[in-house]
């Protein structure tokens, strides 16, 4: 295997591990922040919709998620229209955090 390919695979593995760790962290933070007391972290599918059919969160929860991003990750959402895309699922949130913390 070429060194280039090895590096590529290592980078991707690290990125994947980072994303998984972030997803686990977000599951716990969301349960705490939104008082979802009847849920355990493993009950939340990282790809399920946060709003509507999935977790069934409401508009106040959306505001809480914005606060969570700012308080815990120092990320401010400048354009509220981006919220729908960022908060589609836990995985999209994790991706957004990774992209914007690196920037």
């Amino acid at each position: 295997m070429s060194q280039l390919l090895k590096n590529y695979l290592t980078d991707n593995k690290e990125q994947f591990m980072e994303e998984q760790e972030l997803i686990e962290k977000l599951r716990i933070e969301i349960i705490k922040q939104l008082n979802l007391e009847d849920l355990k972290p493993e009950d939340i599918d990282p790809d399920a919709a946060l709003f509507g059919e999935g977790l069934g969160l409401d508009s106040i929860d959306a505001l809480e998620l914005i606060v969570l991003l700012e308080k815990n990750y120092g990320i401010k959402i400048e354009d509220p229209k981006d919220g729908k895309r960022i908060f589609a699922s836990i995985r999209t949130m994790a991706k957004y955090i990774q992209d914007n913390q690196k920037a």
Binding site: L34, N35, E37, D38, D61, L63, E64, V67, E70, K71
Partner: protein, 211 residues
């Protein structure tokens, strides 16, 4: 004329429905340690309960216990069922919590979910949403339980044909001191008169509240 068809009382360690204790803890505990197990034992699962502030939780459990098996929407239209509540401390617990979140300028993260509960009439909204009631609702702040005020306001809504059934009473919490006493007042033209219900009047309300 209106009749009092049901009452619920919540004190520091007990929940009463009419004359029956329906939930009891051996010792007085803090509010959260009391209300959560009471909710789990007395109410059907309702995830939104955990998001409510302490005042709404207290009102919600009291209303769930009282409204159980009443099937009000089979007797009245959703617009004919309303509320007149009194309390003294307003939303002081939530106000304190909100203040805490904004007192440090370097760590300034007010919570929208806390802020929405800094209006005491939200507790009425929570009960309306859960039960599908659309009638008039009124929350008055009063230093103490004011029988005359409760009676006057409910009677006014009834005589003006705004309500046929009214959930009314006192729901108050300050820190871990809490107290709820609510009644279901219904039109005597609808209620089964063969049952021995008390009349909704000042002396009866007074007597029931102080029992």
């Amino acid at each position: 004329m209106m009749l009092i068809t049901k009452t619920t009382r919540i004190t520091q360690n007990k929940v009463w429905c009419d004359d029956q204790i329906v939930y009891q803890q051996d010792t007085e505990s803090n509010f959260q340690d009391f209300i959560k197990p009471a909710f789990k034992e007395l109410c059907t699962p309702y995830p939104k309960f955990y998001k409510m502030d302490s005042l709404s939780k207290l009102a919600f459990v009291a209303s769930e216990v009282m409204l159980k098996d009443t099937n009000l929407l089979s007797k009245y239209s959703k617009e004919e069922i309303g509320f007149v509540f009194l309390n003294s401390a307003s939303t002081i617990n939530t106000d304190r919590e909100h203040q805490k979140s904004i007192s440090d300028r370097t760590n300034y993260f007010p919570s929208p979910a806390i802020f929405v509960y800094t209006l005491p009439n939200i507790m009425l909204g929570e009960i309306c949403i859960k039960n599908g009631f659309f009638g008039e609702n009124l929350l008055l702040i009063s230093e103490k339980f004011d029988t005359e005020m409760i009676y006057r306001q409910v009677e006014l809504l009834y005589e003006n044909q705004r309500l046929q059934a009214c959930i009314t009473g006192w729901v108050d919490i300050d820190d871990d001191n809490f107290n709820a006493f609510i009644m279901l007042a219904e039109s005597d033209s609808i209620v089964d008169n063969s049952k021995d219900f008390c009349t909704f009047d000042v002396s009866t309300i007074e007597k029931l509240f102080n029992r």
